[in-house]
Symmetry: C2
Amino acid sequence: MLCIRDFAPTDKKQNIMENIYAERIAALRQMMASKGWDAVVVSGSDPHASEYPSPRWKQVEWLTGFTGEAGDVVITLDHAGLWTDSRYFIQAVTQLEGTGVELHKTRVPGAVLIPEWLSKNASTVAVDGLCQSMGAVQEIEEALAHTHPDGDFRVVDIPDMLEVFWNDRPQIPATPIATMDVECFGGISRLDKISWLRKWMMIEEIDKVLLTSLDEIAWLLNVRGNDIEYNPLVISYLLVSQDYVKWFAKKSAFGATDPDTEDSFNELRMDEVEIEDYDALCFSLSDADSGERIFADPSTLNYHTYKYIQESCPGITLRLGKSPVILEKAVKTSTEIEFLRQTYIEDGLAVERFLYWLEHEVAARGEVSEWEASEHLTSLRAEIPGYRGNSFENISAYGANAALPHYSTPQQGSAMIRPQGLYLVDSGGQYLTGTTDITRTVPMGECTMLEKEDYTLVLKGMIALSMAVFPRGTAGCQLDVLARNALWRSKRNFGHGTGHGIGYWLCVHEGPQDIRQNFNQQPLLPGMVTSNEPGIYREGKHGIRHENIVACREAGVNDFGDWLEFETLTCCHIDTSAIVAGLLDSDEKAWLNAYNESVYRRISPLMAPDEAVWLRAKTQPVQ
Amino acid sequence: MLCIRDFAPTDKKQNIMENIYAERIAALRQMMASKGWDAVVVSGSDPHASEYPSPRWKQVEWLTGFTGEAGDVVITLDHAGLWTDSRYFIQAVTQLEGTGVELHKTRVPGAVLIPEWLSKNASTVAVDGLCQSMGAVQEIEEALAHTHPDGDFRVVDIPDMLEVFWNDRPQIPATPIATMDVECFGGISRLDKISWLRKWMMIEEIDKVLLTSLDEIAWLLNVRGNDIEYNPLVISYLLVSQDYVKWFAKKSAFGATDPDTEDSFNELRMDEVEIEDYDALCFSLSDADSGERIFADPSTLNYHTYKYIQESCPGITLRLGKSPVILEKAVKTSTEIEFLRQTYIEDGLAVERFLYWLEHEVAARGEVSEWEASEHLTSLRAEIPGYRGNSFENISAYGANAALPHYSTPQQGSAMIRPQGLYLVDSGGQYLTGTTDITRTVPMGECTMLEKEDYTLVLKGMIALSMAVFPRGTAGCQLDVLARNALWRSKRNFGHGTGHGIGYWLCVHEGPQDIRQNFNQQPLLPGMVTSNEPGIYREGKHGIRHENIVACREAGVNDFGDWLEFETLTCCHIDTSAIVAGLLDSDEKAWLNAYNESVYRRISPLMAPDEAVWLRAKTQPVQ
């Protein structure tokens, strides 16, 4: 799944409801006037800087109707603005119509960002410090200090500021939780993970670690929940000292009658994990001894908690830095990799069955809707033992729809897939034994020469990266051009990253590694699992993406260095009917033919006979 | 020329002279004792942080006998140490024998660098602030402050500290200077360059710019000298305000009878460049008005000047940053590029004649020494109109010698080139119309399969980079893997950068761009001239490097972006006799055949008939 977020198309109800947003903003302004605030900042994030917030924290959407996933709002007494980037310009203009909220463009030349804008238009600024990282608020404070050298400015932290107006605001989610059986399904025990963290703390001379990122907590405790759609997370904080592990989560989850939750709770207690209430974090922090050094990661520590530590915990010395859990989580163990291999075969089988079904249905009925296809794919995944839902919303996009980076297949009125051109399907599952993510672009019949060329050039990129061998220490940004070079030489390109890290029954996007045109210095390490997904998008025409998931592994040591390479985990054939064979060199053909043959070898024994015959035909070598 | 510096092999006289170094260190210690210094730092650099210092500033060599180009020395009353990196470990051990100076390894795990070492072993440290950048000394001060929190430490700046002992110390060089005729030989007039800099100063709200880097000064003033071997520089400082341009150089150069120097001097005066004495910089700075903002680049501003400004110029506010001249100098004008094309043809003709001569001489005589070959190549370059010397010391290396990254061809007893295996020649010239740099690896006869494979894989890398097309904004580090991928896939590699910037009748190494495995974010821009020189080195066997010089140029704009590509400037055939044709794909063969054909087309009309026949045979297409 590519690293650009999707959005739901504009809700038709919006125009009817537009006064609601104006009314909400008016109510907020009334509060501002009574409190003496010049400006209020409303953020689109949650208290844990999660990539996808749960409905409770969709505050920007509640206040303005804007549903894009990146956007912050500033309200003053005479201005309301939404700051967002080019991915959402068109959507914002449509959705903000009639609300009085103006679009402020970010990531454009000369952009004035929120801190600078505030510094010129306000001196008392209220923020919901729960939903802003400490870094974001510090930037506001620094900008205000710059324009108010005499110090006559204030940033006020008002947690849950909108709660008083938002009658039907969703609760903090508290879904059932499950612990992972690492003996059965790979991984490291929570006690070993805690020991590792405590050792790190000793080396770094740190007394306590405060984890605030939800996937880091889930990984460390080997717990999974369902608090955020597609992301098996539990809204919580974790505090680890040499003496205790305190998990601050919504206790209601454990109070439920769900027997798995009850068992998980007991298992955690057996491992001496204390369960505290989600809201009890600050109280617990205030208990710190004088001189205690507490570590937190500023990219996910929210301003409210930061402020609390600074003001109410004089004993604490805050040590800020990049959480060590991020890297440890990214490097999968050899048993996890072994489980992933099997999981990707089962997931690949579901996708192969889907492609078989789709081809036959379109042939029989003449057309199948994108939505029906998507639902059918999900139903096939749901049959897999250990399936725990999808890892993101399926992208099921035919023809020109596949060229829209934000395309979300609508339930009603989705496009019909017909026996010509290209169909793109990007999907993945959550399983007890890992998270999957795969994109296949499927020639449904006759394709244009441009479609074929694009299809082949993107495939060349995916193959080049798949075949890469590189010395230990190489970062993803140093390999990215391999996935782009064939396209670039034809002056074609794609606007998203080539690869993102993937969790193990966790988030489908995780760091610290990636493969893209940036300067991320994190080396690729054996055990890291990353996507390999070049693409191309032609507005109004077609979109193509080929995505396999690869695991980095050792490839031997010689006089020239210590070598690494990729093992492709994804197990699903690549359609050869749209390939321009003359554009592939002999190495690329050899890779493609060997890959398709290995897919046939692994998948066909699990298939029905007619499916296996079909797959045999699909995996004939390209000459 | 690759970016690893060469060193002269250990001098045989050293053992006889070793007591001299011990005596010099003893004399320095006597001074230290009398002055109350715990430690003295002696640096291997010059007052301008030049890549190659002139003999006057080879202080480390004078004091210890160590001739490596990277190395700093610390002397205390009971310890003498040389800090250098792995390139020089073996050399240092040999050269320091008997001097009492111990090797401290840098760039190894757990290395204790000079600041940290000093902080534990000294509290009063003397430095020659002229030969240390302000950044280097600040690190020492910070380390001392850390171990002496009560502030009882001192860093003393003693410019030219060794002068009292060094009787025959070379003078500051003052060679004849020449101004560039930009109308005849390309480039921007000095008045236009000065106007550009003054505009930049206005935008940045800076009153004066102090340029300390010698190639920046030479570029801005359109002057060239010969103060450093192979580098056409003038030892000087430059101070630019809105009202004046003051050039602080050794006036003796202008006092000479050399008519070109006299003319240059008059030309500079006509353009209102005031010539001041090299030593008058500080005096001139002290003249600053109160509140003046002076810009300097800390990477080339020496500590002595920095300290002077801080202590004796209370009116000056120092604004430190990366000099804007570096980027402006790197982007060549279209007329400069046009002159470079012609220069590279003339330079290529010299190299072609050399290769013709070498092949025939080895055939006739059975062998030719590396030294004779090198001298002959220089003599052929010297015939080119506008030749102003070589741009670095020729590397003329046969067989296993080519595998030594530091190989310097000895005048006496150099290896004999015979009609088998590989000969590597890396060389370049300085011309009125640009600087050249080219490496050819020449199969002299029968080659082993390993030599052929290596030769072909390195060539694949050079071709891949030559063919690259990339969007505007791409940095060299994002392309580097193209030059390595073919080698990497065979688990082979090279330990130097793939490309460095090249000056225009200036230094053969310049920034800010490069192509290597780093994270240098400087995008490649149209007009930048960079080397493309992958290689491979097998100790005791052979060394291979293929080096062309490429200019970045525009390649059109389309829906996918604004595209750039490389134009190869170097014009000298690539020998095809050692190519394993099966390792080249059709694109690579097409590039190679087109390149060799274009070399033939451009060079053969300038050749004698027998040479042209030879080149025709050498440039037959690979099938």
